[in-house]
């Protein structure tokens, strides 16, 4: 029988990943408390389930590896072996391997690669320490293996209602074969739902399943023991159907008998909703009784969500246009309608935004393992705490935040936390603490990485800044500690020897910062030498909708993200100072370089400055600049659109928006504009 397993592949992948996550976190716990073996049961169960699932799906390599893991785990579980760090390490390596195999399967690559080394390592550990278990069989149940000896349990009485009986009677009167089937599934079968699906599929090729006990939904969810009962009607040769069922592995027809509906009695009230009924075998109407889908959630292609987001953006934009018309022509009725529409669109926008939100957990989950591995490698001891992983962020932000966080955590472990000996000498507990926190605040999400390690040695940072020519000596001395610490984000600092003697804390910090700024976020660091550092990242909830200042230059309109704008002001042309061809203005005592937007966007300067000019004060990194524009249109909420692949990397342009009149306006990217 041909079965389309792809339908179950998604379920398989998702469940496997869940088990791998479970394995990872349980194993981490076990490593922390090797004496606490209760978690081992969970680990064993996860490994066992994985094994069963993968052999059902025909992924032999995966099944083989999990089988060997299971062998070792059962030794540990039974207490025949001690939980050693070596065993844990090997198990972690196996989990990584499982992850890779599953990713490969997801990518369409069914080959599992060579696991023999891991298996050998598992066996060495196991046999090296125990003899008793060596004799255990290495047999792996394959999906194709026919199952025998399915125990027959006494049937539960099928419950019929009026409606069922009418159908059955009618079916019988039309010459259909009405059958009562008892079907057994091997008790050790994994993914029973798949077996059920196969049975239903085989049956519905020739007829229709009228009733089942347990219900179709329960069957679908695998909620039954080892057998289930069906009432089945068909027209063709029953033997053929029986044969089909018996061909399914791990499934056996235990009993079948003709059912005489006339002797049935109603045991259940007729349901209120009576589905329509026709008597064709299989086909369209089979849907009525067909298996309902398992999950309450719907998986949606991200692209569709993006599209939805785009459409909502456009709707919002046109609503803006309508508002303009309404107020221009003072049409009260129109304005009332627009008001309603306004509410609906903003609700709609909020809903769509929410749909795109994902908990940061998705990113955070991979860190405990990484922290554990790295700490081990660096011979450090660390307690890693994650808080607020349920905090939600837009998918676009989630995709980008992983790498910077990884970097920060790695730095904290490598350069922040001292070795246990050092810590004890300093009067700190030997075990370092590392926190990863997330929480909402208004329209922002804050993510913090904190350690109680050595902190930033501000003096060294200053010295380094002078050395690199970033600051003059005097300047460096005058700098507050806080400002000095921020220097680690400058690109000149990504070398060794700044903070600790091992290597620099500044490794790639400039990259971290620019990545976060690219997301319209901010990062600050609070650190006290000797007592640890706190990196605080502020992120917008979404990258898709931002506030922007709309400006014009000549006849072009540009949007400047408000995150880059400090203020707008109007200055008199007389106040512009010209030093060596560079214009400057003074704004409340500070001197800002003045840049002409027209020149920055390659427009020929018209040279006819009026007496007063508009200046948008923008911030690039820690420096302020004055941007000369012709007029200010005002602040607007804009929906960012990409310029597409061809114009992806144009410097100075962050994307585009579609304005109320349907034209395209460009969004300036201040960080790359000049």
């Amino acid at each position: 029988m041909e079965l389309d397993m792809t339908q179950y592949l998604d379920v398989f992948l998702e469940e496997s990943r869940e088990h791998i996550r479970n394995l990872n976190s349980r194993l981490l716990e076990l490593e922390k408390n090797p004496g606490e073996t209760s978690g081992l049961n969970e680990i064993f169960r996860s490994a066992h389930t994985l094994k069963g699932m993968s052999s059902t799906m025909g992924f032999v390599g995966l099944a083989d590896l999990t089988h060997h893991m299971e062998n070792l785990l059962s030794e540990l579980k039974e207490g025949r072996m001690q939980v050693t760090s070596r065993a844990v390490d090997i198990l972690f390596a196996c989990i990584d391997r499982l992850q890779i195999i599953i990713d490969n399967i997801d990518g369409g690559n069914k080959l599992s690669g060579d696991n023999s080394e891991l298996i050998k390592a598992l066996e060495t550990i196991r046999t090296g320490q125990t003899e008793t278990a060596a004799a255990e069989t290495m047999r792996i149940e394959r999906a194709s293996e026919p199952s025998e000896n399915i125990p027959v349990k006494s049937p539960r009485g099928m419950i019929y209602n009026d409606y069922d009986i009418t159908i059955l009677k009618e079916a019988l009167s039309r010459g259909f074969n009405v059958q009562y089937l008892k079907i057994g599934v091997a008790p050790n079968s994994m993914m029973k739902a798949v077996r059920v699906f196969m049975v239903f599929k085989a049956l519905e090729e020739a007829g229709e399943v009228i009733k089942s006990d347990p219900s179709a939904q329960e069957l679908d969810e695998g909620k039954f023991d080892d057998q289930f009962d069906l009432v089945y009607i068909c027209q063709g040769d029953l033997n053929l159907v029986i044969e089909r069922i018996n061909q399914i592995s791990e499934v056996k027809l235990l009993q079948n008998q003709n059912l005489d509906p006339t002797v049935l009695t109603v045991t259940e009230p007729t349901p209120q909703v009576v589905p329509k009924l026709t008597y064709q075998p299989a086909g369209d109407q089979a849907d009525q009784n067909k298996i309902h889908h398992m999950k309450q959630t719907v998986r949606v292609d991200i692209e569709r969500l993006d599209k939805l987001m785009n459409l909502v953006g456009e709707l919002v934009m046109h609503k803006g246009r309508l508002e303009q018309i309404g107020s221009a022509y003072k049409l009260e009725e129109l304005n009332n309608t627009i008001e309603h529409m306004d509410r609906i669109t903003s609700d709609l926008q909020a809903v769509v935004m929410k749909v795109r939100m994902v908990p940061v957990e998705q990113v955070f989950n991979r860190f405990p393992r990484m922290v554990r591995d790295l700490a081990k490698e660096l011979n450090k001891e660390v307690d890693f705490y994650i808080e607020g992983k349920e905090t939600e962020l837009d998918r676009t932000v989630i995709d980008e935040i992983g790498d910077p966080l990884l970097h920060l955590l790695r730095n904290a472990l490598d350069h922040g936390l001292e070795s246990p000996q050092q810590r004890l000498l300093l009067g700190k507990p030997g075990q370092g603490r590392l926190y990863l926190r997330a929480h909402h605040e208004g329209n922002n999400v804050f993510i913090e990485v904190e350690d109680d390690g050595a902190g930033i040695k501000t003096g060294k940072v200053r010295a380094r800044a002078v050395e690199n020519g970033l600051l003059g000596k005097l300047e460096a001395e005058q700098l507050s500690d806080e400002a000095a610490n921020m220097l680690i984000f400058e690109s000149g600092f990504s070398t060794a020897d700044i903070v600790t003697d091992i290597s620099g804390r500044g490794v790639g910090m400039d990259v971290v910062k620019s990545k976060i700024e690219a997301m319209n976020g901010e990062i600050i660091v609070n650190s006290r030498s000797g007592s640890g550092s706190l990196f605080r990242i502020k992120l917008p909830l979404t990258l898709a909708i931002i506030q922007a200042m709309m400006v014009t230059v000549q006849n072009e309109i540009y949007a400047i993200p408000l995150t880059s704008v400090d203020e707008t002001t109007m200055i008199s042309i007389k106040d512009i100072k010209n030093v060596q061809g560079q214009e400057f203005i003074t704004l409340r005592g500070s001197i800002l370089p003045l840049l002409r937007l027209a020149r920055l966007v390659d427009l020929p300067e018209d040279g006819c400055d009026s007496e007063e000019i508009y200046v948008v004060v923008v911030r690039k990194g820690s420096k302020q600049f004055g941007l000369v524009v012709d007029t200010l249109i005002g602040q607007q909420e804009i929906v960012i659109k990409s310029l597409g692949k061809i114009l992806d990397d144009i410097p100075g342009i962050a994307g585009a928006i579609i304005s109320g009149d349907g034209n395209v306006c460009l969004i300036l990217d201040i960080t790359t504009l000049f």
Partner: protein, 150 residues
Amino acid sequence: MNLSNTNETENQKMIQVVVFHLAGVEYAVEITYVEEINRFMNITRVPHAPSYIEGVVNLRGSIIPIINLHKKFNLAGQKFDNYTRIIVFKINDILAAIIVDKVSEVIFLDVANIAEDTQFFSPINAEVIEGMVKVEDRLIILLDLMKLFD
């Protein structure tokens, strides 16, 4: 869809093309790539973009780059008028458009008649030219849109 575009008889393989004008010369692109043909729309200039990018337009909510073949091929300056058309095409899931002086017709070409000899063109142009076709006494240059992106 494909059936209507290619019309295969015994030894003939025909392709359907859109014929348009650039500085008085006739060019053609295969119709399978063409999504739609529009009148001139408001184009937003993109600073710092390659010179042959005329700008971007809003096509029902999607932002589409407009390639100016006059500039790409170093042809005489182009003026936008009532005949100006924007041919939107899609290749490898990328939507883009070319702006042309005039779209004249949609015709079938016999593949066998396409001369691939492009030695007469300047090297820059030759890259995007698939070949030349003689239709009666007209000479039509067939463009390879795929190569416009490189």
